[in-house]
């Protein structure tokens, strides 16, 4: 599969959607009656969090495919999705802390289930790369990493449940069920930002996949042109080895 196909169109679509979403968030969405201007953080923080969590689940689904088929391409897809979700997850924690400081006066609140459960998920996935790196045999590495990705991926929906079941209402309720939820004029910018963030994930995922594929093809080409001795041994790596047939 060629991951760079239509990447330019996808990149442009991502940039346009995100720009439109952020523009609407600032110039169209009304000011929140309770939080005022600082509620604008919501339009970057929440889509980031949703996409990061969905990315972890996507990594789990790819891991299931890897275990089911034994095809290492699925392992690579899972690895890249989790890697990218971790980056977005770091963004969620930082933007969330900034929002918490602006809203509650504290950078972090330990008795808030939403925050703590997200941190647990983030820390759980932070062990994914060291786990991979600790296993030298590529086949075992892929298999163990897939099992990890599936188990951790199943844990992710708990984060959504924690938000709903939490009794504490310290964390801002944006999809409340009792008092009408998000106002209509906030919904459009929010969903646009969410789509934009999902497109950003898809774009960066494809960039990363294309990069890994190109790197593998270059190694293969070098081997064909200059022989095996011209290619340095791969050595221990957390990243899955890529077959050139993909």
């Amino acid at each position: 599969m060629l991951y760079a196909t239509r990447l330019r169109a996808l990149s442009i679509l991502t940039a346009v959607t995100l720009t439109a979403g952020f523009a609407l968030a600032f110039f169209y969405a009304p000011m929140d009656a309770d939080q005022g201007f600082m509620q604008k953080i919501f339009y970057v923080h929440v889509p980031l969090a949703i996409v990061a969590l969905c990315g972890f689940i996507f990594g789990g689904i790819m891991a299931i495919q890897h275990l089911r088929t034994g095809d290492s391409r699925y392992d690579l897809r899972s690895y890249v999705a989790i890697h990218l979700s971790l980056v977005l997850g770091a963004g969620v924690l930082i933007t969330g802390s900034i929002w918490a400081k602006a809203s509650w006066g504290h950078w972090w609140v330990w008795d808030e289930p939403t925050l703590v459960s997200f941190l647990i998920i983030f820390l759980l996935y932070a062990t994914y790369q060291p786990l991979r790196f600790s296993i030298e045999d590529p086949e075992r590495q892929g298999r163990y990493a897939s099992v990890f990705a599936i188990v951790a991926g199943a844990f992710v929906p708990l984060n959504f449940l924690a938000v709903r079941l939490a009794q504490s209402y310290t964390h801002p309720r944006v999809f409340a069920t009792t008092d009408g939820g998000l106002p209509a004029k906030m919904q459009l910018p929010f969903y646009l930002c969410l789509i934009g963030m999902a497109l950003l994930f898809a774009t960066l995922w494809r960039y990363e996949m294309a990069s890994k594929n190109t790197s593998a093809k270059l190694r293969s080409l070098r081997r064909k042109l200059a022989g095996d001795e011209a290619v340095a041994p791969r050595g221990r790596s957390a990243a899955p080895s890529v077959g050139t047939g993909s």
């Binding site: 952020f22 005022g36 953080i41 970057v44 930082i94 990069s211 790197s215 070098r222």
Partner: protein, 64 residues
């Protein structure tokens, strides 16, 4: 200017800056990889150019 800006503008700006910085860092990493690929490709291009010369040399040795 601060009179015209709403409260907590700094926090909002910081949150969006964090997001843009993350994307920018990712793009810089991608650009570095792209530069490496370009370098490797030009090396391989040179290798491919030299390959027929090596083949000719080998054939000449065999004919002697």
């Amino acid at each position: 200017m601060t009179d015209t800006l709403p409260d907590n503008t700094g926090y909002v700006a910081a949150a969006y800056l964090v997001f843009f910085a993350l994307v920018l860092i990712y793009l810089v990493i991608m650009a570095t990889k792209l530069a490496r690929f370009e370098r490797e490709l030009s090396e391989l291009d040179e290798l491919a150019d030299r390959a027929p010369e090596r083949e000719d040399g080998r054939e000449a040795v065999h004919s002697h």
